[in-house]
């Protein structure tokens, strides 16, 4: 093998691909799709104005109680915003913006409690800072009442007043208003909301849009639960404890003992899925590029001129290297762009920390093995795709060969989540020893590192397979490039591999 020739072919292929417009489109389109996934739901909700609803209250008290609760929650949010003193606080009504010094002295629970008190739920607070705020309740309630949904949305889209507006509607007009779309829906409270068989109803033109229903049900449930508890003689604290679910705090066990799981470690537990997906995308993308490049060489009728100038093995090695460079540039750029987006644009959607946690969860050990498996996996699939590309005359002829390759490549995608959840399962270990699956299965299992013997044995087996595949593919490549007739059958390709 002549390094000069290999590098010459590699350089030409790399420059030819990177110089094309479609490369840059491909480079930008994946992060753009990722960005769209990240931002579009938020953007759509921004374009969706406040939902309008009405309430038919047969109980005579529940509607007011629920509204007080909703107001109380909004008050708590406004207190939090005032305490933060952020840019959004400048959009707060003046009375609320002036609370910054006192609000900053309250913790989350105290602000939640004060919010409800300001809304009329409960007695005046005793804590000085809270009390000072409570004394201004008339001005605060007045400032809140003056907020339109748009003004509230500019302050914080999480405020109920920004998202949901109750509209006083006569019962006779409810159906008509809902059918015309003036109302998004209306709720009906039963006469006795605390009864075990109390029937609550929601009527809407669009029952698939559950935002309004879910939000309102949560608010009503909280009020009804509290009332039921009070009726049973329980304090509000007892009622809260009754409704509280049990959560298990995860602890990571290592050879050195066990400890509480950090956010980065939680991310690290799921990083294998990311590794496998990245491995899949990069190997598939690059090996397909190699096949396309080889087919292009044939269709451009350049192949024979190359064969006369340099060894077929050098052509194949050069093309593999050049296309691998293209793929590494592509995938590397994606990673940089996506992590950059997570850290910058994502920060606006409270996802900035995700990038930091992902970075913190990545270990040098796993990165090293990722690179080993990427190189070996790529060479294995490149050998197959390169041989196929050389044997056929166009993409259509390549399809029948691609199907089994794709089936093999998709298998690890199906198995990556179960393997990441149960890395020590016997089946995961067995499949790690199947060379075409080795890179994917081993990376799937990387959260609970497989035994060293698995790393060494599977890699050795894979390396031997890669060597055989490259040797056979080189022969098929030589013979295939000169084949202008019908694409060979698998048996013929095997004969080429033996006899060319």
């Amino acid at each position: 093998m002549k390094l000069h020739d290999v590098l010459l072919v590699a350089r030409r292929d790399y420059v030819a691909y990177v110089g094309r417009r479609r490369f840059w489109i491909s480079l930008l389109i994946t992060p753009a799709i990722f960005l769209a996934f990240m931002l579009v739901p938020g953007l759509i909700s921004q374009f969706h104005g406040a939902r309008h609803y009405a309430v038919v209250d047969h109980s005579g008290w529940l509607q007011q109680a629920v509204e007080q609760r909703i107001e109380g929650e909004d008050f708590a949010k406004l207190l939090a915003l005032a305490a933060q003193g952020k840019a959004s606080s400048t959009k707060l009504p003046a009375a609320w913006a002036a609370l910054a010094p006192q609000a900053a002295k309250l913790d989350t629970a105290a602000r939640a409690a004060l919010g409800q008190m300001l809304a009329g739920n409960g007695p005046a607070p005793t804590e000085p800072a809270a009390h000072a705020i409570w004394q201004q309740r008339d001005a605060l309630q007045h400032g809140y009442a003056g907020l339109t949904p748009d003004a509230a949305a500019r302050i914080d889209r999480g405020l109920a007043v920004a998202r949901f507006q109750r509209v006083d509607t006569p019962p006779a007009s409810l159906q008509d208003a809902t059918a015309r779309g003036t109302l998004d829906g209306y709720f009906t409270f039963p006469k006795d909301p605390l009864a075990a068989d109390a029937a609550y109803a929601y009527a809407s033109r669009n029952l698939t849009d559950t935002d309004l229903r879910d939000w309102f049900a949560g608010e009503v449930s909280a009020v009804v639960q509290a009332r039921r508890a009070a009726k049973a003689g329980l304090s509000s604290e007892q009622a809260r404890l009754l409704g509280q679910a049990v959560t298990f705090q995860g602890q990571l066990v290592t050879e050195h003992g066990h400890k509480a799981v950090t956010a980065a470690e939680k991310v690290a537990q799921w990083l294998p899925v990311g590794y496998v997906y990245l491995l899949f995308i990069s190997i598939m993308q690059i090996a397909q590029l190699l096949m396309m490049a080889t087919i292009e060489e044939k269709s451009n009728r350049i192949a024979e001129m190359l064969l006369a100038a340099i060894e077929p093995s050098d052509i194949m090695a050069g093309k593999t290297l050049g296309v691998a460079g293209v793929g590494v540039t592509l995938v590397g750029s994606w990673l940089l762009i996506i992590l950059g987006l997570l850290a910058t644009v994502g920060a606006a959607f409270s996802m900035g920390g995700v990038a930091a946690q992902i970075l913190a969860g990545i270990s040098a050990w796993n990165i090293a093995w990722f690179l080993v498996y990427f190189v070996l996996g790529f060479l294995l699939y490149a050998a197959v795709m390169g041989a196929v590309g050389a044997s056929v005359n166009n993409i259509r002829e390549a399809q029948p060969y691609m199907t089994p390759v794709m089936l093999i490549l998709v298998l690890p995608l199906i198995l990556m989540v179960p393997a990441a959840q149960d890395p020590t399962a016997w089946w995961a270990r067995v499949l790690s020893y199947v060379p075409p699956l080795t890179p994917f299965m081993m990376m799937s299992r990387s959260a609970a590192p497989p035994p060293m013997v698995d790393y060494i044995a599977t890699t050795a087996l894979l390396a031997v397979t890669v060597a055989i595949a490259l040797y056979a593919a080189g022969r098929v490549f030589r013979r295939g490039l000169l084949n202008a007739g019908a694409p060979p059958k698998l048996r013929e390709m095997l004969a080429w591999a033996r006899n060319s």
Partner: protein, 302 residues
């Protein structure tokens, strides 16, 4: 001076099919040498063995002084019949790339490519993408790329295929120029007239085997006498004429191959009775007739 190419009992099989079957020949250095044969005769396979693309399954092929073809790639240039361009590449870069593949340094290849493309009238296209070139310009660029490293041995597979008469003439004059420069040129063709016009020596190959080989005179020696004639009218069945063994008739022009005992006077008399003669020349067989005889084709149909 040693021969540029020596082939001894070379065979190449594809499966059970012998594309080349025990072929032997010598190509003198500095000559233009033609490979003649029908489609599928084994010409391209032989040229591929000479350029090192294929290895013979039996026998030997040595070029430029007893060397293996693969060892002297920097001294040979090959333009296959199926040749193309990197469509997205700049003309200058592509020509330079082919030179670099044959061992030239990048700077030297770039300089030569620029000079030669300019000399060939492609100065305005140096930085254009190859897919913007016309067919003729593209072929010029290919030839320049193939020969950028000044090879001693130039191998051209069907160089006249698809060319109009003007471009065919350009290729013929290029070959003569290579010979003047002392290079050896071998090319394959099934257009025998081109070979007769320019070759010093030829080999006629059929079904992978050598039928005739040598200088044009040697190949023609021993072939039957011929009559070449231009005529008007319906000549009828040529073989009914006295002394005619076979005929290559194109309607108003015919080449008649005569039996050894043929009497040309009797033939002339018979012809005058059938058609209006414009020309009647007796002479040696043309290379085309020798070719047709060698490959055993149906002469009337040919």
């Amino acid at each position: 001076m040693p021969d540029a190419i020596t082939i001894r009992d070379a065979s190449k099989y594809f499966g059970t099919h012998a594309a080349v079957d025990g072929l032997s020949l010598d190509v003198p250095t500095g000559s233009i040498y033609g490979f003649l044969g029908r489609n599928g005769a084994g010409k391209t396979t032989t040229l591929r063995m000479i350029t090192g693309i294929l290895q013979p399954d039996a026998g030997s092929v040595s070029v430029l002084g007893d060397c293996k073809p693969a060892d002297v790639r920097a001294r040979t240039g090959y333009l296959p019949e199926e040749n193309g361009l990197y469509k997205d590449m700049r003309v200058l870069d592509m020509v330079s790339y082919f030179g670099q593949l044959r061992g030239l340094g990048r700077r030297e290849a770039n300089a030569r490519a620029r000079t030669r493309l300019t000399a060939a009238g492609l100065e305005a296209n140096l930085n254009a993408k190859c897919n913007t070139l016309s067919k003729g310009m593209g072929q010029k660029a290919q030839v320049i790329g193939t020969l950028l490293h000044d090879p001693e041995l130039v191998v051209l597979d069907e160089p006249f295929s698809g060319l109009d008469p003007v471009n065919a003439e350009v290729v013929l004059s290029l070959m003569k120029q290579f010979r003047r420069e002392g290079r050896t040129v071998i090319f394959s063709t099934h257009v025998v007239e081109h070979a007769e016009q320019i070759c010093d020596s030829v080999v006629i190959i059929d079904r992978g085997r050598r039928k005739r080989a040598g200088t044009i005179a040697e190949v023609k020696a021993g072939a039957n006498r011929t009559v070449s004639l231009d005529y008007e009218g319906d000549a009828g069945e040529w073989r009914e004429l006295p002394g005619v063994e076979s005929a290559d008739d194109s309607g108003r022009h015919a080449e008649l191959r005569l039996r050894p005992d043929a009497d040309t006077q009797a033939l002339l008399g018979a012809l005058v009775e059938r058609v209006r003669l414009r020309r009647f020349d007796t002479g040696e067989a043309s290379l085309k007739q020798v070719f047709l005889e060698a490959v055993g084709a149906d002469h009337e149909a040919a």
